[in-house]
Amino acid sequence: MLCEQCRKREATVKYVEVAGGVKTEHNLCAQCAGKLDLGQYSALFEGEFPLGKLLSGLLGIPDAAQDESRFAGVVCPVCGTTYEDFVKNSRFGCGDCYSVFDPLIGENIRHLQGSERHVGKRPAAYGDTAEKTASGEDLGDQEAKAPEAGEDRIQRLSLQLKNAVRREDYQEAARLRDEIRGLKEEADQNGKMV
């Protein structure tokens, strides 16, 4: 197999990244792997590394150019950022860009961040879960205030499960797993009854 970065030398290094339960495999040659090290990551967090390049290089999307032609012409109506702008600079122009480009890059954000849903603090105007989540406490009594749709709840619990596994808090993970299983069974039964 050829190295996925240079496509010249034989891939001798297999690099597996596990982020939030998502496993990504990379096959690299020794030279490219050596360069990869952490330098690229640090550049990424300085915000100087173009996300497009990073995504195609690091996340193993074979040819970003193919995708680009398909997405060409997508423009944020609010600030005028185009998909090409985003790929080039890896930055958004305004808050609305996130919803405009979500279908195109949502998957990439999930790869990059290991998640696609915010679970932390919320502004006061967006409901009262903020304090609880920010302090990392259980969200138990939230259900009493606003009945949450079954699917949303499962999604939220799945995310908590991922985080528990990441923290190596297996006791909590097992509890969450059972709760999710229970909810899924419940949902199945309800479905049958209808």
Binding site: D37, F45, T81, S90, F92, G95, E116, H118, G120
Partner: protein, 344 residues
């Protein structure tokens, strides 16, 4: 008032400082990359006034700086002290900085994002830093509506900060651990847990000072507390490993360890010219000697504060005129001779 970095290091610890950065954008404007020049100027002014009116920086000696109007040298000096990010230090458009006198709390306005709150403390104090940054975030949030999305959380220019907008980091002094052959694999192992370790003044062998920063890679899908706990735990683990190695070294080769520390002290106390690299390496030896209880200073001394002080822009901003390279090396030696306390 004492700056945060002048607080002496704790004996027996490799943790130098803790830092929390929290970014937010104001819903009313596009992100900095898409703002017109007029919008940049207007928003920077409005946010600067908003911070002033919030009363958060009540100290009379807090500074309100328009970064685009101060000399390059002063901006670089702020960057060297890590009061501002590299991005904003080079920015041409309007940008602001509000900085408390002790530099423990700062707000950058119109950098990569509209608002970047930074809280720093000497030593291991991430939770305290987060508490202060969060308090500031609440205070500004009551005046300026943040750009927020149900799915992605707080929206930021770069998708690498979206969600919590939170980047927490700890600086550690790892002269023993970083010389181990397996240090690189250790740092990539840390990567699997969602943390990133990088040299503060370069990578690998070329990191004079042996200072390393560990921070969170991801900002989305974890609560703020989880992020803070993750980095604090990883930093504590690195600290413990470094301590273990140093104890072993001191047990096996006590004279060699003491020799390194005393020789380095001798050089810095008497040298007349010092390059940055040499000075950083000798200071690193002194930092290790002091942390290991080998070197006892007559007065409390912050070695990290000295490391920041000998960076070029900080030295040049103390000088009365521009200096040549040789003069700068001489100024660096003078700076250290004057500030290194006597040893017992």
């Amino acid at each position: 008032m004492e700056k945060w970095f002048d607080v002496p290091e704790k004996e027996g610890s490799s943790v130098i400082c803790s830092r929390v950065r929290l970014v937010r954008n104001w819903r009313e404007y596009p992100f900095p990359g898409k703002m017109t020049k007029e919008q940049s100027v207007e928003m920077t002014g409005r946010l600067m006034n908003g911070v002033k009116e919030s009363g958060a920086f009540s100290g009379s000696r807090s500074r309100y700086l328009y970064l685009d109007r101060i000399p390059d040298l002063e901006r670089t000096a702020l960057l060297e002290r890590r009061a501002i990010s590299r991005g904003v230090s080079k920015k041409k458009a309007a940008a602001g900085l509000v900085l408390s006198e002790d530099e423990r709390l700062g707000i950058t306005i119109n950098g990569d994002d509209h608002i970047r709150i930074q809280a720093v403390e000497k030593g291991a104090a991430l939770t305290e830093c987060y508490r202060r940054a969060d308090q500031m975030e609440e205070l500004l949030g009551s005046r300026f509506e943040y750009s927020f999305d149900e799915k992605y959380g707080y929206l930021t220019s770069f998708p690498t900060s979206v969600g919590t907008g939170l980047r927490v980091s700890v600086v550690l002094h790892l002269p023993a651990l970083s010389r181990r052959k397996n240090f690189n694999s250790l740092t990539s192992d840390m990567g699997r847990f969602g943390t990133l370790v990088r040299g503060l003044y370069g990578e690998g062998e070329e990191n004079p000072g042996s200072l390393y920063q560990i921070s969170n890679q991801k900002t989305l899908g974890q609560t703020e507390k989880e992020i803070v706990d993750l980095v604090a735990k990883a930093a504590a683990e690195l600290d413990a490993q470094e301590r273990r190695l140093r104890r072993t070294a001191m047990g096996q080769r006590p004279v060699a360890c003491a020799d390194e520390a005393y020789k380095s002290y001798g050089v810095l106390k008497y040298a007349r010219r010092l390059t940055r690299k040499d000075a950083m390496e000798f200071l690193s030896q002194i930092m290790a000697g002091a942390a290991d209880g080998i070197l006892k200073m007559k007065e409390p001394c912050s070695v990290y504060g000295l490391m920041l002080g000998i960076q070029p822009a900080n030295l040049l901003s103390q000088a009365e005129r521009p200096l040549s390279r040789e003069e700068l090396d001489a100024a660096r030696a003078d700076f250290l001779r004057a500030r290194l306390p006597e040893i017992i």
